[in-house]
């Protein structure tokens, strides 16, 4: 609620503010929603002056419409598709991770979400030579595993080191630290500081459920409000700075149908544009495998239900298994 004060706009004098306040108009919203002819009479102020102030305030606080053709031009040049490092996953995602969107990887513990995230970080850093911001809230990020993946792809030690340097890891253990890290990112991108951080196109968050779970539950809606604030921040960062945002989430079972669904509830389910479910491949052998199955649960571009097989051992290497397309449940 922005309160009316003299600094806001040139035509708004202290005298005017006092007169308005006497008629219970204190905030910008009050002013803009009221009938100006009425106010002009009651406060004996100039109608013209009031209209001018209203115009300036509206220009300051409202969003501006853009024309579809202009937006399309802009998007054509700023949208990029980032490879995940795994060709079959790229195929599932219709060529890769799109900037301007939030993509969610969901799966049970051990399904490979962190491995896929590391693979993505390695692929973008090494392959595209772009910077990566990795927010780790589970403690699952290990530099040695990342190094292993990089070594599998290139033997040039200098390249490996450079790739590692382009990945910035921030450990966050609660929602406020996460929001703060995102705010710092926003500040840095807004100022276009070209320091040690070069072009950043991707933010990986592993995981988002870890910081939100403690907030949910009970009758308070505070937790949901903070969760939606985080959602809003992620989406606006993705849009405004053309970033690809990847988040990981847990799964729960739907009580009525028994199907797997993403955790964090209904409100969160609207947030990502694309959702991929990671599962372990069913195997009769007892040994643990590195085989996983990824299915497309939500996509703005492809029909859902497509499945591919992944090998998370060396996520940056091409897998021999073909793409299988099935109609999902």
């Amino acid at each position: 609620m922005v309160v009316l004060r003299t600094g806001l706009c040139p035509g708004l004098t202290e005298e005017m503010i006092q007169l308005l306040r006497a008629n219970s108009i204190r905030t910008v919203v009050d002013f803009v929603s009221s009938d100006l002819e009425n106010i002009a009479q009651k406060c004996s102020l100039s109608y013209k002056a009031l209209v001018a102030v209203r115009r300036v305030l509206l220009a300051q606080f409202s969003a501006f419409p853009v024309n579809g053709a202009d937006l399309y031009e802009e998007l054509k040049s700023s949208t990029a598709i980032l490879p995940t490092g795994s060709p079959s996953l790229d195929q599932l995602l219709d060529s890769g991770l799109y900037t301007g969107e939030v993509t969610e990887l969901m799966g049970a513990p051990g399904s490979g979400k962190t491995q896929v995230c590391l693979g993505i970080a390695a692929s973008v850093s090494l392959g595209l030579k772009q910077h990566v911001l990795f927010l780790d809230s589970t403690g699952g990020f290990t530099a040695s595993r990342l190094y292993q993946m990089l070594r599998a792809q290139t033997e040039d030690e200098e390249e490996q080191v450079e790739a590692l340097q382009r990945i910035q890891v921030v450990r966050v253990f609660d929602i406020y630290e996460m929001l703060r890290a995102l705010q710092e990112l926003r500040d840095r991108l807004s100022q276009q500081v070209v320091s040690s951080m070069g072009p950043l196109k991707i933010v990986v968050i592993d995981s988002v459920s870890a910081v939100i779970y403690p907030l949910l539950g009970g009758k308070q809606s505070e937790g949901l409000a903070i969760m939606m604030q985080l959602a809003r921040e992620l989406k606006s960062l993705a849009r405004e700075f053309s970033l690809a945002v990847v988040v990981t989430n847990q799964v729960t079972r739907d009580s009525s149908t028994g199907a797997l669904k993403p955790a964090l509830g209904r409100s969160w389910s609207f947030v990502p544009s694309t959702r991929v479910l990671l599962e372990s491949k069913e195997t009769t052998l007892e040994k643990a495998t590195t085989e996983r199955v990824a299915s497309l649960a939500k996509s703005p571009r492809q029909p859902t239900g497509i499945q591919v097989e992944l090998n998370i051992e060396n996520s940056v290497m091409p897998e021999p298994s073909p793409v299988t397309s099935t109609q999902g449940p």
Binding site: S33, A231, P300
Partner: protein
């Protein structure tokens, strides 16, 4: 200007007849709510409507201007372009851009900004008489944040949305618009229907997962409510259902559609 308005008035009939229970819908002044859980095709349906509006008459469209208000950064321009490319006989860049020039987009990041933006848009509607369709995706995006900001008082929580709803009603009435707004199914339907304060007008509301939670000002201005759901047939991941209720005349119709590369198909 008056002529342009009168011309525009008869043209919305063919926007999407499958969506409505009775013929001749929508008319200017209608407020249509799309309600449903995620992944049920509401935004796809909006893209379908946008395409129907902005495609020129020579291509089978209505050739009217559309305003799209996006409250949760959901709008996917590339998807809209794919739909247009699949529907136009001539897929050149120029034709696509001509169509897109009829679309106006604005993104709002809070209910306060939405309110201010609506006030500013008033001028745009005056300047563009052929702008007669307003799409809002979604009006429920700020629900939890507003609720938290309003503290204990329900009035304070709902204040912004109430002002938005009232002003939208004024815009729709004064400029003869048709408003389509999506609302998300954020809550589970309470098992005890006596808990809801609003009597169920539509018999199908008992089937669907509908629990009204937005402010009364909004609920009272809605003329048509359309419920979206996914078809649960095995092997059909592209099928969706709409149940369309005309709230004043109590007419209901149920239809299905699928989402293809070219968008919604009934």
């Amino acid at each position: 200007k008056l002529l342009a308005r009168l011309e525009g008035r008869s043209s919305l009939k063919n926007l999407e007849p499958y969506l409505f229970a009775e013929e001749g819908s929508p008319v200017h002044g209608d407020v249509i709510e799309f309600h449903g859980p995620e992944g049920t095709g509401k935004t796809e349906m909006l893209y379908h409507l946008v395409a129907r509006c902005i495609i020129p008459k020579s291509g089978g469209g209505l050739e009217v201007e559309v305003m799209f208000i996006d409250t949760d950064y959901h709008f996917d321009m590339l998807r809209l372009v794919t739909i247009l490319e699949n529907r136009l006989a001539q897929r050149t860049e120029d034709v696509i851009k001509q169509c897109l020039a009829r679309l106006f987009l604005v993104s709002c990041n809070s209910s306060t900004q939405l309110l201010f933006t609506l006030y500013s848009l008033e001028n745009l509607f005056c300047a563009h008489p052929s702008l007669c369709v307003l799409l809002l995706d979604s009006i429920s995006a700020f629900y939890w944040i507003d609720r938290s900001n309003g503290g204990e008082s329900l009035t304070l929580q709902e204040m912004n949305l109430k002002k938005c709803a009232n002003f939208l009603e004024k815009l729709v009435r004064q400029h003869h618009l048709a408003l389509f707004a999506t609302t998300q199914t954020l809550m589970q339907k309470s098992a005890n229907s006596a808990e809801s304060f609003f009597p169920l007008k539509c018999p199908h509301e008992t089937d669907t997962d509908y629990r009204p939670y937005l402010c009364k000002s909004w609920l009272q201005m809605v003329t048509h409510r359309i419920f979206f759901s996914k078809q649960c047939n095995s092997g059909n991941s592209k099928g969706f259902t709409v149940v369309s209720c005309h709230l004043k005349r109590n007419q209901v119709v149920k239809r299905s559609f699928s989402v293809e590369e070219c968008g919604v198909q009934f």
